[in-house]
Amino acid sequence: MDMKRSYYEDIELFGSGTVLFWAIILLAGLLAAPFFATQYHVYLFNLILVHIIVAVGLNILVGSTGQIALGHGGFFAIGAFVTVLLMTKLQLPFFVALLGSAFIAAFFGFLLGLPALRLEGPYLAIATLAFGLAIMHIIGHMELFGGRTGLSAPPLDIGIPQLGFSWVLHSQVSKYYLILAITVGMVLFAINILKTKAGRAFVAIRDSEIAAEVIGINLAVYKTLAFAVSAFYAGIAGGLYAFVLGFFDPFTFNLILSVIFLVMVVVGGLGSVMGAIAGATLITYLMYDLFKNVGEVPVVGDLLVSFSRQWLTVSGIDNFNLIALGLVMIGIIIFEPLGIFGAWIRVKKYWKTWPF
């Protein structure tokens, strides 16, 4: 039984000592993780963190505001390309470039939000999808963005080299700590946003536009705001992604990537920040790591490889990841439409009321 003594406890970041305790344990685990992981796994952690930022932002738009979006690969690309260009061409410090690119992505989000005022459902899906594709091709055709060959990221200097204060992060591990700090910040911001005025207005628009209007919510303002905020998140994530990869071309940000972002949010649980985190983690792991080396699976490895070569693919064994991904998606949609977050709620309820 939780007893509350002040209204502030309703909106506190850590509702109880237990939550704070587990949050600290988790953070300690995340800080210690690189010491027990291989170089490759730290790279994978970085990918997961970057995807968490995108998923949390996309969830504000799709889960909370109810506006479907299939073009977040576009904002992700803007974040990556603009951050690198601001650093190499304008010699801006990293953090300024990162924020700058995120605001530029947010501006494009606002622009994409304008047609969204008139579109919904499948029509909006198509409009955003077209945006994602257009960004990819526009970038691919401009020399400024390196054309089809793409760009390589400069050394990640988080100081201000212009003032003689330079702090270059070389290894994946040092980048991991930077990205972890930014991810934690972005997640906390999202939790707070959803608990305050703007977040509630988003949910209101999702549940009933007409009721939202008659209680004084300006639909145009808040819909475009939701697009801008979620594009901002994708922009930040894109800027970090550039340094995780080190080198990228426009086709890194293809349509599949946009779709995968949406999958993360749906699999995690629409409308929940924790769900988005879980979804991004699971899907990234499935795509990039699980069955990466099917041949090394004990006993059945060789069999699976030959089975796959013969029946499942024309190109090799890589598609085991995609098959696992597909199965997980189908399974979750059938058995737990609310996603991972829905399953978590059920487990929590079970323990709270146990043994009844």
Binding site: Y7, E12, R200, A212, E213, V214
Partner: protein
């Protein structure tokens, strides 16, 4: 000049004149009811007032300011709140959040202020708490404590009607439009509701426009009544006067009520 004034309101959908030359004045702190059979244009009048439809002709004036042509959210900010016949709540949010949304127009926290709500002394947190106190008073008033943290989608119909009423009340409006607030309630709940509506008028100083089918309720709490049929006014006046009007009895209460 009356506090709230509707003059020569017209709107037609295709060839159908849904609202045809309706005019009425409402005084401050009055309970003004609109009655009429289904399809007579009552809800359409509410939709015109709250800006969901735009009238073909006519004026809607609150405290000397014309509301025609304003968007629904502008009208809400001017002090007109409403409930819906078929309940328009935010089903996947808690009762608390629904009521807090009623405070939307009174809150200042923006997206950045909200994002930086760290600690109980941040601006966003202080504003949040202040408005939660106001909402808590409404929860007390409408006796919603037991469902405070429940999701609205899972509540009984009568409770949801109350949450919607509470949300309108949280807006601290000058005028409140209630569209069949007692529909789906049992006798006991209706009695409570009647008392609450009177209290909203007396204690919260809200002027009320009411659409209702329950004649006991109408006759019990209305100061004045407008009866309409097929988009036109039949009569307006004191409840007793309207109730006795032969055309009202014929159109609305049925032929046998004359006997």
């Amino acid at each position: 000049m009356a506090f709230f004034n509707v003059a020569h309101l017209h709107i037609s959908f295709g060839g159908l004149k849904a609202v045809n030359n309706i005019s009425f004045d409402v005084q401050r702190n009055e309970i003004f009811s609109i009655i009429g059979p289904n399809g007579s244009g009552k809800t359409t009048i509410f939709n015109l007032i709250s800006g969901i439809y735009r009238p073909d002709e006519g004026r809607i004036v609150l405290e000397g300011e014309n509301m025609v042509g304003k968007t629904p959210d502008r009208i809400a900010r001017k002090g007109i709140a409403r409930t819906f016949q078929n309940i328009e709540l935010f089903a996947n949010a808690t009762v608390m959040d629904n009521l807090m949304l009623g405070r939307h127009i009174h809150m200042r926290t923006g997206i950045f202020g909200g994002a930086f709500m760290f600690g109980s002394r941040s601006r966003a947190a202080r504003e949040e708490v202040a408005h939660r106190e106001k909402v808590e008073r409404i929860i007390d008033f409408l006796e919603l404590q037991s469902v405070r943290d429940q999701f609205v989608g899972g509540l009984a119909y009568g409770k949801r009607k109350l949450v919607e009423l509470g949300r309108a009340l949280a807006m601290e409006p000058k005028v409140m439009l209630l569209d069949e607030p007692s529909a789906g309630m049992n006798t006991e709940e209706k009695d409570d509701l009647t008392i609450w509506i009177k209290d909203i008028r007396d204690d919260f100083q809200v002027t009320i426009l009411l659409i209702e089918h329950d004649m006991n309720m109408i006759m019990g709490i209305s100061d004045r009544v407008l009866a309409m049929n097929q988009g036109r006014e039949i009569i307006q006046g004191a409840p007793g006067e309207v109730q006795r009007h032969p055309e009202v009895i014929k159109a609305y209460l049925g032929e046998e009520a004359i006997a």
